[in-house]
């Protein structure tokens, strides 16, 4: 057996790759990155990534659900190890959320190839589609895991009422074939993902690495309140049916709902609000708004949702409004694989990397992929806990530690075919 140097991360090459992804999605009228799922910029980034994967000597593919997959194929039938994250972003998102995990995955493979590593099983890097849940789920990893239904693909719409079916068709996909993206059970040994924390816990604890034990559940609602649009100057306060006043009453009840029903990890967010007619001199006749629930325990998430709905009913009654609650998705909290986390932990300890075991507030592909295989999720710190914002940042010192850990983990997982 020939001697090879141990593989090591080329940080400037990693940085170039990340910058390359982030050349896509810059817009004049929206700050930060804008690679909304299946948008032109999202698809352009995916096509660019295919080129990078091919340049690295891997087999590249965009599957039926929009996932970009680059595979380093080796002989034999051993289940492969998958590494990656996503390259789609929220509107006005940051440069690290998703893209960093994809770039780190590809850099790890490049480093292994460069060092002449001969893995005992295939390794694939993936950029999943619509991880950010534009259409209410995580289409790409759900498709890989084989848990997307055709009915859902047909009925799913984004917050503006635009159909998944239509945007996939416009991007050149056949939405009827999404289920073909499913990977065979037993064909994947593990999915490992590196992602920014998107919260302040690691920074506050002074730890460069987080190992996630459980991913919070998420429930996604749209609520509509309907009152009467009326003249702001002449309608007595007591006779109004003000849809925005109803919404405000619901919004201020959030701390009370969490205190009554939630765990320490409970979060409720109203992120999107659209009023009708939305003009200064008219009482809002309609208010449509999004609600995102996050919880570490499913029973608590049920109680949060029920408690919130009760406030919606009460506010609707107080303000003489009709109300309608539409549930787009209900993803229960997911405990990640203990053995796989132990492998990451051992890799960290062997390199004297300090880490914290913590729950993830954000939903991630590592959550849905549990339906297919054991998964692990490695966090690197987010400066000030900021994410989903142009101000999102992670230091390159921390990125270097995270990439080293991912490389060590992949080496551990692929140097033998024991499953």
């Amino acid at each position: 057996m020939a001697f090879h140097p141990a593989p090591s991360i080329n940080l400037s090459r990693l940085r170039e790759l990340l910058d390359g992804i982030n050349q896509f999605g810059r817009e004049d009228d929206s700050p930060g990155l804008n690679r909304s799922a299946f948008s032109e910029s999202d698809m352009a980034a995916r096509r660019w990534l295919v080129g990078q994967i091919e340049d690295a000597g891997l087999h590249a593919d965009i599957d039926a659900a929009g996932n970009v997959i680059g595979t380093w194929r080796v002989e034999g039938d051993a289940p492969l190890v998958m590494v990656g994250s996503h390259t789609d972003t929220v509107i006005a998102g940051g440069a690290y959320d998703g893209a960093l995990g994809v770039a780190v995955g590809l850099e790890c493979i490049k480093a292994m190839k460069e060092a002449g590593v001969a893995p005992a099983r295939s390794i694939a890097v993936v950029s999943t589609s619509d991880e950010e849940g534009r259409f209410g789920g995580m289409l790409g990893s759900e498709a890989l895991a084989g848990i997307v239904t055709e009915e859902w693909v047909q009925s799913s719409v984004d917050a503006d009422g635009i159909r998944l079916w239509d945007v996939m068709s416009a991007a050149g996909f056949d939405p009827a074939r999404v289920s073909r993206a499913a990977l065979a059970k037993g064909s994947v040994a593990a999915f490992v993902e590196l992602h920014i924390e998107q919260g302040p816990t690691l920074e506050k604890a002074g730890k460069p690495i987080g190992l996630v034990d459980v991913i919070s559940g998420v429930c996604n609602w749209t609520i509509r309140l309907k009152g009467v649009a009326n003249h702001a100057g002449s309608t007595p306060m007591a006779e109004r049916a003000d849809a925005f006043a109803g919404l405000a009453e619901v919004a201020v009840a959030i701390p009370e709902v969490i205190a009554a029903h939630g765990t320490d990890y409970a979060k409720i967010t109203i992120g999107k609000v659209d009023l009708q007619p939305n003009t200064p001199h008219t009482i809002p006749g309609e208010a449509e708004f999004s609600v995102i629930f996050k919880e570490a325990e499913e029973a608590a998430m049920r109680r949060l949702a029920d408690g919130f709905a009760e406030h919606v009913r009460r506010a609707a009654q107080n303000h003489r409004l009709e109300h309608e609650i539409e549930e787009h998705s209900w993803l229960p909290p997911v405990a990640l694989d203990t053995d796989l986390r132990q492998a990451v932990r051992e890799a960290a300890e062997a390199k004297s990397i300090d880490y914290l075991v913590l729950p993830s507030g954000g939903a991630h592909d590592a959550q849905t992929m549990t339906a297919l295989c054991p998964t692990a999720l490695i966090f690197v710190p987010s400066k000030g806990g900021v994410s989903h914002s142009p101000d999102e940042q992670t230091s390159w010192d921390d990125i270097a530690i995270g990439a080293d850990l991912m490389l060590a983990t992949l080496m551990r997982l692929t140097t033998s075919t024991r499953s």
Copy 2:
């Protein structure tokens, strides 16, 4: 002196005229009428009205501020009597707000001409521009009254940040010449306006007519709250700077502010809300919203505004937000002319028309025109108090009574040159 029949309103002709105005401003993507000031539909309606005025044998003009004026000129130097209202609408507005008063004014003149009335002074019907305050004031009547400053015309923007200067230029006006629309002091003996009540008081009291004694003041603010856009799933509730949570806290304080500082006529409305980035999975980093204050007494309006601002400061502090309050306009409450109201009252009593004296919650041209001449404002009932909505309605029985009263009033004001 030849015998002539008493003039009388031709109700079907009036209805045709109103329908004619309301053929403009129907849009596929917004219900009701959409004749926002200086929009294409607003200008189209104005040009159509010019044709109607000319067909009635009057002198027609669109002045430097966009007001349409039709004048029945008679010999002599006696100050003229002006009747009218406005034909611009809010977005998704109704068919009666403004347009009815213009149509009634022109129909009254037609009826007088038809009956061979020889008035002792000129009569003009007007449709003022931007009565609905798209640009934060009431441009048309303010220009007629000579109280528009060039600085205001230069700096004024609508709720979307679009400049008055730009839309006037696009509509073919020279905004630098707005002040030329001013009428000479002493040239107008009276301005009489018929308008829908836009509130429920007349309907509840079972009265077909309202005579307005005071018009509420109005104050128009835009408030900006700035926090941190952040991930909805991973940012702990206690560490958020959620601009919408701050706005909701302000909004629910409105009843308390009114109870503490307002009169029975106090109204505070948040009609327009824009969040950034306005996506479900991101905590709102910015909230911009409109606030409209209405009061019958200026001192109370000052207290309301101060009390509200205090809540804005408190909410900003509670939610770690920056805040900014921009005041677009401050129109004090205005008491209307007692003698002119007495003339309308006598006309009503002579015709056994039942009426109620009441304040107006809405701002009207009759308010700004007090800077030029005595003014009177006649209300007809609004079904259910609804206005600024496609559902706005006034019965034709009530319209007939209102038009009769306006005709009788104009006869009283124009058959002699006593001022």
